[in-house]
Symmetry: D3
Subunit: 336 residues, 6 copies
Amino acid sequence: MAQTREIRLGLPSKGPLAEPARELLDQAGLRVHHPNPRQYQADIPNLPGVTVLFQRPGDVVVSVRDGSVDFGITGWDMVSEKRGENGHILPIHTALGFGQCTLNVIVPEAWEKVNTLADLKALQAEWNRPLKVATKFPVQAEAFFQRNGLEFVEFISAEGTLEIAPTIGYADLITDLVSTGVTLRDNRLKCLVDGQILASQGCLIANRESLKNNLVTLGVARTLLEFIVACLRARDNVSVFANMRGDSPESIAERMFTQAVIGGLQGPTLSPVITRQGEKWYAAHLVVRKDQLSQAISELRSVGGSGVVISPVSYIFEEEPVEYQAMLKQLEDGNA
Amino acid sequence: MAQTREIRLGLPSKGPLAEPARELLDQAGLRVHHPNPRQYQADIPNLPGVTVLFQRPGDVVVSVRDGSVDFGITGWDMVSEKRGENGHILPIHTALGFGQCTLNVIVPEAWEKVNTLADLKALQAEWNRPLKVATKFPVQAEAFFQRNGLEFVEFISAEGTLEIAPTIGYADLITDLVSTGVTLRDNRLKCLVDGQILASQGCLIANRESLKNNLVTLGVARTLLEFIVACLRARDNVSVFANMRGDSPESIAERMFTQAVIGGLQGPTLSPVITRQGEKWYAAHLVVRKDQLSQAISELRSVGGSGVVISPVSYIFEEEPVEYQAMLKQLEDGNA
Amino acid sequence: MAQTREIRLGLPSKGPLAEPARELLDQAGLRVHHPNPRQYQADIPNLPGVTVLFQRPGDVVVSVRDGSVDFGITGWDMVSEKRGENGHILPIHTALGFGQCTLNVIVPEAWEKVNTLADLKALQAEWNRPLKVATKFPVQAEAFFQRNGLEFVEFISAEGTLEIAPTIGYADLITDLVSTGVTLRDNRLKCLVDGQILASQGCLIANRESLKNNLVTLGVARTLLEFIVACLRARDNVSVFANMRGDSPESIAERMFTQAVIGGLQGPTLSPVITRQGEKWYAAHLVVRKDQLSQAISELRSVGGSGVVISPVSYIFEEEPVEYQAMLKQLEDGNA
Amino acid sequence: MAQTREIRLGLPSKGPLAEPARELLDQAGLRVHHPNPRQYQADIPNLPGVTVLFQRPGDVVVSVRDGSVDFGITGWDMVSEKRGENGHILPIHTALGFGQCTLNVIVPEAWEKVNTLADLKALQAEWNRPLKVATKFPVQAEAFFQRNGLEFVEFISAEGTLEIAPTIGYADLITDLVSTGVTLRDNRLKCLVDGQILASQGCLIANRESLKNNLVTLGVARTLLEFIVACLRARDNVSVFANMRGDSPESIAERMFTQAVIGGLQGPTLSPVITRQGEKWYAAHLVVRKDQLSQAISELRSVGGSGVVISPVSYIFEEEPVEYQAMLKQLEDGNA
Amino acid sequence: MAQTREIRLGLPSKGPLAEPARELLDQAGLRVHHPNPRQYQADIPNLPGVTVLFQRPGDVVVSVRDGSVDFGITGWDMVSEKRGENGHILPIHTALGFGQCTLNVIVPEAWEKVNTLADLKALQAEWNRPLKVATKFPVQAEAFFQRNGLEFVEFISAEGTLEIAPTIGYADLITDLVSTGVTLRDNRLKCLVDGQILASQGCLIANRESLKNNLVTLGVARTLLEFIVACLRARDNVSVFANMRGDSPESIAERMFTQAVIGGLQGPTLSPVITRQGEKWYAAHLVVRKDQLSQAISELRSVGGSGVVISPVSYIFEEEPVEYQAMLKQLEDGNA
Amino acid sequence: MAQTREIRLGLPSKGPLAEPARELLDQAGLRVHHPNPRQYQADIPNLPGVTVLFQRPGDVVVSVRDGSVDFGITGWDMVSEKRGENGHILPIHTALGFGQCTLNVIVPEAWEKVNTLADLKALQAEWNRPLKVATKFPVQAEAFFQRNGLEFVEFISAEGTLEIAPTIGYADLITDLVSTGVTLRDNRLKCLVDGQILASQGCLIANRESLKNNLVTLGVARTLLEFIVACLRARDNVSVFANMRGDSPESIAERMFTQAVIGGLQGPTLSPVITRQGEKWYAAHLVVRKDQLSQAISELRSVGGSGVVISPVSYIFEEEPVEYQAMLKQLEDGNA
C-alpha cells in the first residue's frame, strides 16, 4: 500500500536551516512551490508525486524515523540526537554545505582557569559535587562526557535560550550550538578548547524501509542525489576558455600537462581558432576549481594562453554519485 | 543566602506573548530596559534589584518551579502543563489580558460526522484501535480525555507544527492552541464543539519558597500586583467631568442616584462652577466603565448635565488588590 | 425585512483614506476588529450588529447609494462625483479631519503664460479647437468648466496616473487631486491659481431610506455621530487645572471673567485648596482650546494663577450633536 | 510628424504585473532606468529613443488603442476587455510567462448545489428573476454568458474588491480573476467547474497605425521581440558539455542519434580532447531543455559520456522570431 | 533688517538625536510639518514665522554661532566642541532629556594594566614617546588631557568610526562618545575608569545677538522654553484623585500634611463627594512625581484614602521658567 | 617590521559607495566575510592575510595616505580632496564602475541670469564683494575657481547638507556632489552649465611605500587588479555560440571576417557539428560586447549562422592588466 501514496520530503519550517534548504533545492532545479505560507504542505513541480512538509527541525528526524515521512533535510545535530538505535534512518548526504555549526561544551567566561575538559574535571573534584549541565542534546552530551571520563555530571534537558542558565544557577555549564560565537560573547560565555562534541551541517536523510520497499522512493533518492551533488560540485568550479598558440593540439596539451592545475588527469578540449593572418591558435576548454583560478590563469599564460574567458557552471554530473552507491550499499548491508 | 541575590523575573523571549508581556509592564510603569537584544538579561529601572531573564515560554515555568527564577510571566497553557505536582508554583495573577487562546481537540475537516467527543468515541469503537493523538500538552490532553471517558487513546508528544500530523498519518487527530482559527482552516482541520480543554491567557506566577523566605520577593510581588492590577482596571474606565445645573450638590446627587450608571454606590464629586450670570451650576466628577460611557452620557443629559469632558486614566488603585490578599492566603495554607 | 439584517459600514480598503479612517474610529472608541487581512469583512466589538466592509473609495459611495450598505466613510471628492441625483445619499458628517486635498485644474509647467482660467480660455481661442481634459472626476470637472464659461472642452474619463497625459498627448490638461504638490512638480505640472474645483476631506455618509425605515440604523447614526463629534472636539482642547489665590470663588471668577480666553461664557469650576499656612487658595478647572493655551497660561498668571497642570481629553460631549439634528432635519425635508 | 517623436512603451505602474514586467525587460537586456520613483516616465538605455510610461494596467490598453502610446505590456485580461472593435491594437506577443491567472464565474460556497453553468441556469429558472453578476470585465463576461445560453443576467460593472458583493447583496455572483484561490476561500466563494471565461498572462501589444507608418516603431518591435523571445527560450534550456569516449566524432554522434533527447535534429558539436594517455575522447556540446536534463544525463552516460558540465544560457536566438513574422503578416492583412 | 526675516531653528538631520528632537517638539505641542523629506526646510504650524532647518549636528552649532540660524537643538558634546570663544552662543536649556552619552578616554582591552589616567601616564613614561590619540572632539580632549597633566600627547583629528584606530595603528587610543558600551566591547576596547571628559545630552541654544536685537526672537525663546519645560516636567508627574473620608476638608488636609509625599508644601484640592448614605467624603486632587507614586498610594491609604485614580498630564506650567530668567540674566551680563 | 603585519584594505562603512564596493568584490570572487555588523573589521576568505577595515569614505584616503592602511576603495572625489601633496597615495584603478557623480558649482534657481561661470563673475562684479561659497571639497573648489579666474571668493568649509546654505544666507552658492539632480531641484538649486569641477566614481588606491617595500602588498595589488579588471570586463560581454553552415572552418571564418562585429581581430573558434544527414556544419564560439549583441546576431544570420546561444561570462582575463603595468611604472618613477 505504501507504494501508492505520495513520497514525502520534510523541510525545516523555521530556524537557520529553513531558508538555505529551500535555496539549495532551488539551485538544484527542484524549486518548492508554496503559494499559501500558512499551509504546511507544498510541492516541487519538477518532482511530481513528491509532497513537501514543513516541520520543526527535530520533527523532521522523528517523522523520517517513524516512516510517516520518506526524506528529510535538517541539521546533522538533530539527526545525531534523535535518530535512535533502530537504524530506520539512513543519512544519504551529510554535507549539504549550509547551516555549519558545532556543538560545544560552554562555560562562563568568569571561570578563568577552566579552558579544557581536564580543567573541568579538576573543578568537579574541587567542588566535590556533580556538575549540572544544561543541554538541548542530552544523547550527544552524555556520550561525549562519558567518552571523556567526566562522570560526575547531572544533565538537565532544556529547550531554547540556554545562554542564561549558568547566570541564574539553573545549571553550572551548558552544551550548545555555536556558529559565529557573538551570542556567546554577549552573554559572557566561552567554549572549552577541546570541548567540541559534534560538527554539524545540513544533511539529507531517508527512511530505510521506504527505500527498500518502494521503487518510487528509490527513484526520488537518485534524482535528489544526482541534482544536489551536481549542483554542489558546480558551486566550486568554473568553466575556462582560453586561446592557446601552438602548432597542434597535441603540442599545446603537452605544455599544459606540465602544469599543476591546468594539466589535470584527462586533459583539455582543444578546437581550432581560425585567424585572419593564418597563425595557428587553438581554443582550450577546461573546468577548474574556483580557489585555483588565480593559479590556472598564471599557468595558462606561462604556456602561451591568452584571452581567458570564465563562465559560471550550474551543475557538474560525474558518474553516478558515490553517495548513491553508498546508499545502495547501506541498504544491502541492512538486509544481511 | 537566597535573600542576598537579585530577584529574577522570567519573560517570554519569543512567541505571541513576548511583545504584549513587555507592553503590559511598560503601561504599568515598569518598563524593561534591554539595550543589547542579543543578551538574555535586562533590568527594570523602576524595580531596582530585579533582573529580567528572557526565556522560552515553557522554560519560564520550569525555572520558577525549580526556584532559579522568582517570578514569571507566561501563558496559562504552559503553567498548567509544566507546573507539576509539588506546589512550588504559585499563580498570583491569572488574567493579564493578552495572549488569549484555547487548547482544543482538533480533527480533520474530512471527518464530516465527527463533531463532538461522543462522535469521536463512536469512531474509535468503529475502528477498534486506539486513536493516535499528537499533542504539545500531554498532561492536559491525557487528563481531559480521561475525564471524558475516552480511554483507548495513544498520545504522541510533539513540538511545533502539529497541523500536518493527521495529513501525513503521524497521528489521527491533534490537540493544539487556537486563537483566530485561520491556520486551522488553511490546513483543513476543525475543532470539536465540546473539545475545549483549557482557556489560556498571560499570567504571573511566583516561586512559593522565595515568597515565604524572602521579604524582598514579597515586596516585589506586592508592587507588581499593585501596578498591574491598577493598570488593567484603568484600561476599562474613563474619567468623566460634567457640568450639572442644580440648587445644591445634594439635589444634583439625588437626581444622579436615580440613574443606573452614574448613580454608583458612592456618589460623584461635586464642585461649584462660578458663572457670569450667577446661575447655580456644579461640576460633577466620576469614573465610569468605557462600555457604559454611551449610557452615562444619556443619563447625565437626562438629569440636567452638559459639557461632558472625558479624560483617560492611567491607573485605578482600590484597596490593596484582592490578588495580593489571595496570594498571602495561599502562602499560609501551604504552611498549614 | 431590512430591519432584520445587520447594519453595514463601508470603509476604504486602500488609498490615503484607509488608514486614517480606521484610526478615527479607533480613537472614537469604535475599534475595527479584522483578524484575517485577506477577508473583506470585519466587525466593531463596541457596535454589535454592525458589519464593516472594506471597499474601494468609490465603491463605498455606490454601495451606500444603492442601499446595499447603510453607512460609509470615504472622501468628499468621491461622494460629490458619484452621489447621483436621486438623493439617496445623506452626508451626515463632512469634515472628519483627514484626507484633506483639493481637486484642481492642472496644466503643464511649460505653459508659462497660462496661470488662470481666463488664460486657459485665451489659449483655447488661439488654438481654435476644443481643449482635451483628462479627469477622474468628469461630473465635477464638467460642472466647473461650465460654471466658468469654458465651453469648448472635450472630457476624457480616465483612471490612475493622469500626470503623464499631457506629456504623451493623451490630453492637453488634467483635473486631479492635489495634497502636497510634490508629485505635480516631479512631473512638471502646475495648478491654475483660480482652478480649485473642490476641497475634499473624509466624510460620513448614510443611505436615506435605511435611516428612515430602520430604527436600528438611526441608533447607529446617533452613536457614530456622538462619538466621532466628541472625539474630534477633544482633539483641539485640553483640560486645565490652576491654583488661584483669592478670598472667595466669586472674586477669583470675577477676575477671570475680565480675560479673553479663560473668561469663557460659563465660568470655571472652583474648589478650595487647603494649605498648611491657611492662605486662601482655590483650584480652577476649565477646558481651553489648544491653540489658545499659550494665551490662557498668560491670562491665568495675570490674575494670580500658578501651578497650571494640563491634561489630555479623550472626548467632549456637548448637547446632542448639531450634526445629528441636521440629519433629522434633512430626513424630514426629504419626506415633505 | 509622428516619426519625429519618441516611441513610447506603456508598463503597468502597479498591481501584480508591474514587477515581473520590469524583470522580464531587465533579463532581456532592456533594463528600465527610473531614478525618480514619483515620476511617471523613464527610459531604457539600451533602446535609445524609447520612452517608458508607467500607467495603470487598463490605461496601457487604452493608450495603445488611441495611439498616444506605441507599445504596451499588460495582462491579456485587460487587452481582451478594452481593445475594442476597431483593430487598432495588435497583440505581438501573448505569452510573456508572468501574471498567469484566469477569469472565472464565482459563486458563494453556500450554494452547495451550484457547481456548473447548468446548475446556475437551473437556479435562475427556480428564482425566476435575472441573476445579478458583478464584474470588472463586462465585455468578456457578457460574451461568455451569452455563448453559454445564460441570458437572464443583469451585469453590474464594478471596480475593486468584488469578493464581498454576494455577501452584501450587491450582486448574486461575480466574475473575477483568480490566481492562487486563497482569497476566494477566505471570503467563502468558489469557482464553477466549467466557468473559466479566459486564461490570461502578460502580453506585448502595439498600435497598428504606428507600426505601419513609422519605420522606427517597426524596428523597436523587432528588437523587443528578438530579445524577449530569445530570453524566454533561454529560461527553459541549459548548455551541456560532456566528454565522450569514441574513435571518431562520427561514431560518437551515431551513438547519440539513437537516443531520444540528446539525438536531436541537428546533432552535437564535437571537439577533440587531448589526453595524457592518448585515449580518444571528444567533447560534445549541445543545448537541452531543463525538464529533459535528467533524461539527457542518463542518455549521455548510456552512450559513454562522463564529466557532464551544465552552464546557464542567457538568450537563444533562432531564425527571426515567428512572432515577428506573424506581426508582419497581420499588418499586411489589415491593409488588404 | 534682521528683524524682518523669519526666525530659524536648526534641528539635527540625522544621527541619534534627530528623531528624539522632533518627538520632544511634538510632545511640547510644536509639531514639525515636513511633507517633502528631501527638502531641508520645514515649518512648525503652531510657531508661525519660525522656519526649521535640518542640518548635521555639528553644523547646527556653527550656524547658530555665526548667526545665520537663531536657535538650535543638538548635543551638548557638539556645542562644547564648536561654540568657540566669542560668546555668540547662549545655551538656554541644557537637559532636554534625550541623547544621553558620555565622551570618554578609551583604550584597547588588551592593555590589561591600563585602567586609569595614572596608568596611562605610566605607560607613556615607559614608552617614552608621545601617545597618539584619535578624537572627533579635539578641543574637549586637549583641554581634558592638559587638565589632568597628560602632556606628551599627539592628537589626531578624525571623523567617523574611530573604534578601529588602535587596531590599525592609526592611533594608540581614542576619545569617543559612549552610550550603551556594546560597540566598544565588540571592538575590544574599554573606558578608563576616571576618563569621562564630558556628559552630554540634547540641548537648546540660541544666538546671543539675535536675542538681544530682535524682540521676535525673544518671544520665540520664551514660547520654546515655556512649552518644553512644561512638557519635560509633566513627563515625571501624574495627576492623582483620591476619595478621602473625613469630617471636614481641613481635618483631611491635616492628616495629609503629616505624610512625606502627599503632604506637599501647598496642599491638596478638596471637593465634597455626595454619598447615598450621607457619610462625609471628600475628593482630594494632587500632583505627584511618578517615582513617588507607590509611596503616595500607601500614604493616601494610611490616612483613609481609597479609590485612587491616576491620570496622565501633558504639561505643568509653574511660574515663568527659571531657564527663561537665567537667559535674560545672561543677556544682561553680556551687555555689561 | 611592516612586512610581518597583515595587509589592510579600507572600505567605505556607509554612504552610497558602501554597498556597491562590497558587491564588486563579491562578483570579483573576493567576498567580504563580516559576521558581526557592529565590528569594524572583517576578512576575505579568498585573500588570506588581508584584513578589511570599514571606515568613513574620507578616512579611507587619510589612512592609506599615512600608511596605516595599505589599500582603499572609495570615491575619486575624496581621493582628489585628501590625497595631499606627498605622493603617498597611488591610485591603481580609477574607474570601478559605481558611485558615479560630479562635483559642481551650484547656485539658487532664483538667480535666473546666472547660468555660467562668466555670469557668476559678472554678478560678483555687480555686488562688489567676495562671493561666499560653501563646500565640502575646499581643495578642489579653490583650485577650480582659481583656474577659471574667479578670484574674489571666500570659501566656507562645511559638512553635510549644504543645500540650505544659500537659503539661510550661510553662503551665496555651493559646490556639491550631484548624481540624479532630484535633491537639487527639491531645494530649488541648479548647476552652472560649465561648472563641473570633477567627475568621480569608485576607485582603488594604495600606499606607495607599502607597495615598494612589501612584496606581499605587491602580490595583493596584482590579485585585486587581475580579478577586478577581469570582472569589470566580463560585465560588458557575453559568450556566443552559433551554428554555421559551411564547407570548411576556413571558408566560414572568411565570411565572418567580412563583418564588423563578429569579424574581430583574432577570429572565432570553430568546431565541427556532426549532423544526421551529413551536412557540413560548424559551431562558432566568440565573445562579443553586450551593446553589439543585436548587430552580432544580424551579422551571424547574414553569413549563414543560426541557433545562436548566448551565455553569461564571469571574468575575462587578458594579458596582465594594463593597470598593473601602469602601477609598476609609477612605482619606478617615484623612485627615480
